[in-house]
Symmetry: C2
Subunit: 515 residues, 2 copies
Amino acid sequence: MNGAEALLRTLAANGVDVCFMNPGTSEMRFVAALEHVDDVRGMLCLFEGVCAGAADGYARISGKPAATLLHLGPGLANGLSNLHNARKARSPVVNIVGEHSTRHQQYDAPLSADIPAFARTVSGYVRVVAQAAEMGRAAAETIAAAIAPPGQVATLIVPADVSWSEAGGCGPLVERPQRPLPASQAIARAADLLKQEGTALLLGGTTVNDRALAAAGRLAARTGAAVFADRNTPRIAWGRGRFHPRIVPYFPEPALAALAGVRSLIVVESQAPVSFFGYPNTPSYLLPEGCPVFVLAQRSEDGTSALEALMEECGAARAAVPVDASEPLPAPTDGPLTLEAMGAALAASMPDSAILSDEMVSAGGAVIPYLAHAAPHDRMPVTGGSIGQGLPVALGAASAAPHRKVIALEADGSAMYTLQSLWTMARENLDVLVVIFANRRYEILEIEMRRVGVDILSEKLRDCIDIGRPCLDWLRLSEGMGVPATRAGDAAEFTAQLQAALRMHGPRLIEAVLS
Amino acid sequence: MNGAEALLRTLAANGVDVCFMNPGTSEMRFVAALEHVDDVRGMLCLFEGVCAGAADGYARISGKPAATLLHLGPGLANGLSNLHNARKARSPVVNIVGEHSTRHQQYDAPLSADIPAFARTVSGYVRVVAQAAEMGRAAAETIAAAIAPPGQVATLIVPADVSWSEAGGCGPLVERPQRPLPASQAIARAADLLKQEGTALLLGGTTVNDRALAAAGRLAARTGAAVFADRNTPRIAWGRGRFHPRIVPYFPEPALAALAGVRSLIVVESQAPVSFFGYPNTPSYLLPEGCPVFVLAQRSEDGTSALEALMEECGAARAAVPVDASEPLPAPTDGPLTLEAMGAALAASMPDSAILSDEMVSAGGAVIPYLAHAAPHDRMPVTGGSIGQGLPVALGAASAAPHRKVIALEADGSAMYTLQSLWTMARENLDVLVVIFANRRYEILEIEMRRVGVDILSEKLRDCIDIGRPCLDWLRLSEGMGVPATRAGDAAEFTAQLQAALRMHGPRLIEAVLS
């Protein structure tokens, strides 16, 4: 078999069975090899940022890596911002990048570029395959690097001649590593800390899940500890009947206020909290001065089991989990389409086990509190702050979990970065409902503009950041890529369209024009 | 004035008067400063790849740099593939990237990334401003780096606190460097070479312009030398009444055949030609073995004046320029919509001095020969081979030359990478006609698939690279971003829509559904 087939068979043997791809000439052998390897499904995307974000979303839901297939340096470049988000999510990604054939690299051809330099900006592991004979092993080692806890982007650069030359065979099976439990001393030390007043817990990484939340909730009930969670975790278990930690607020002032009473902090798969941006005369570091930080579990450790061990150690295993079991407000049947109305409609209508891809940006603050009363669901925030991940991550999540409804909650400005995602959703008939929060503004920038002291925006300034001139018509954009769409102008329309869309299978888009 | 205003005033003082921007929080002071500096026009783009390509197109037409304004590492990442094209075009670009405030950089905030590492992949010059007091000088030195011949991407990384702190004043005026003429010995040596049979000229860089082509044409007439031009030059002067060098073919086989008779090659702002990709059993280096290469002008030198000096030296100044003065074929009034029909309609209808942004990919081979008979125009190919530059480069060119008609000739697959360009065209009412060559295929990949030996594509393989399922509806996509659009299904419709669109001012799109 040639190198391309060896690569593909190594992926298949190791359970990497989806490849989000935007191939070019140097990747043609890989595409041709798909003919002979049924266990890997190639999903074509019309922009590489879609491939990268889809691989991230796939990993966040399935817990295992997808592959990407990107074309040379510029193809990789187009994927980098969503690979940045994947890096911050610690998502395992097998990032495959074609390169010119080895002999061709000495020439300054138009597409020549320093691919490893592009790759290193977002990858924990970068490997260039030197010859076809090492293709199988290189592929296996790249998979191993991707899944090494806590997970990372591992980039495999494959020259065209490595793909077309005889490779011998496919690579070995990779052992799936377990995340280690922290040492028992760490559990004991954390239990001691929880005896002191003002000790709080901060959950991050993979620990905002059902099991970890139940343990943290029991610890809170038993010890009185406050429980916080990072905003930018890859996946947050939320909804009715679950314990809800307090998400660290976005702006530094409310975050400082929220954390002001903390005398000592136990962090689980996380670090001491810092603000998203730095501002003049405001600290970036959010803990009170001198507050000690104790790491219960590193990001590569099993924070969930550590929380359960801590729960046992504190005698909290039989405590009742403090949950808010209240039913959602009824979905609105009239009135203007406000964020609150959308939150209420979503909470009342979402099916059980939905997956939310959250790129609401400025709308999130008003909507997320309503979701606490929705049916249990998983929400995937933007981990690395780079907008343009919401639609691709939804696409990847839907590929990983075909029997769960995926809902992408998208600000209109953010959705524009990777709107090509809609086409792949249509092509693969993925069960994704996209809700566009059409405020027709970069509202977060207007807020930030006020924070820099510009209270009243002049017409010239407002125009600089006004995405409403011309208006984006999301019905046309969506239908232009094959996804049926409707537009809602008031709360009753939104509720009706939402409930209708949730009853159907397959991609749909609702443009919610905010009042 | 604060650092942001010092930066903006330094740009304005040095004639950098357009900024293609997609700002975020860390760039808000720069946006706020636009209020006070009327000489810089901020143009909002909804994706950073649009900003980067627009700056490239602006430079190719105006000969001077535009600025970009990008948001942190991921914002820069989204611009990298078109900055790669700008790098290969040697376009001067003042690439401004916001960074976290200096104190904030020690924390691993979500948007933290190694911005210089992203920047170095495409930039000849990278500078991080350490404090506000050096802002003016840093901006001036970045402009100087950008315009140093032959031109390059110069990246200026500006931490948020540098923008908000007192900067003193704006930076100095930058001298505009002249490209030096090659030494007279080089001219004499080239003249000697032209006395030998089989000596050919290869034009690249900035030398495929009117003056250089006239000189090269006279040299060809006087000495019998063959004249070639690089495919991937930033700007090619073409059309009726001009001398047409032979463009080096794309695939290595015809390129090798075209260059087979060359005994010695004089290169002007270029290098020995190589194929676009490497293939098995086919050389990448396209000159006959042992063929000597003489560099008449380096890329940083004035190749046009060198060609004129060579023309004088060879006594060719009075030779007639060999031009094809034939009129274009009439625009077709019936029949199927073939590439040939589109070429004929374009050639017959294009106004004088049009600017073509050429991202036709597989369609180019059939269309470009027709354009030789069109009114004189400039054509801008994809310099770095990274598709997704056509629409942004057209946008930038239209900003630089508001009185010239810009026509973007776009393959449907390529247009999808940066379709957000349409929105800025609508917002700025730019005089751009976009023609989508809708073959609903990645045809170039089908050709490459045949080249790797897969002659008959199975249904599975064809599906892997089939962008026609679902069909992209360019009318909806275009109108969704505010650009009026029509669809042509036969030659008569295309001709009528083309001629109507060329009579109007402002952005238009024609989806040409190929037969």
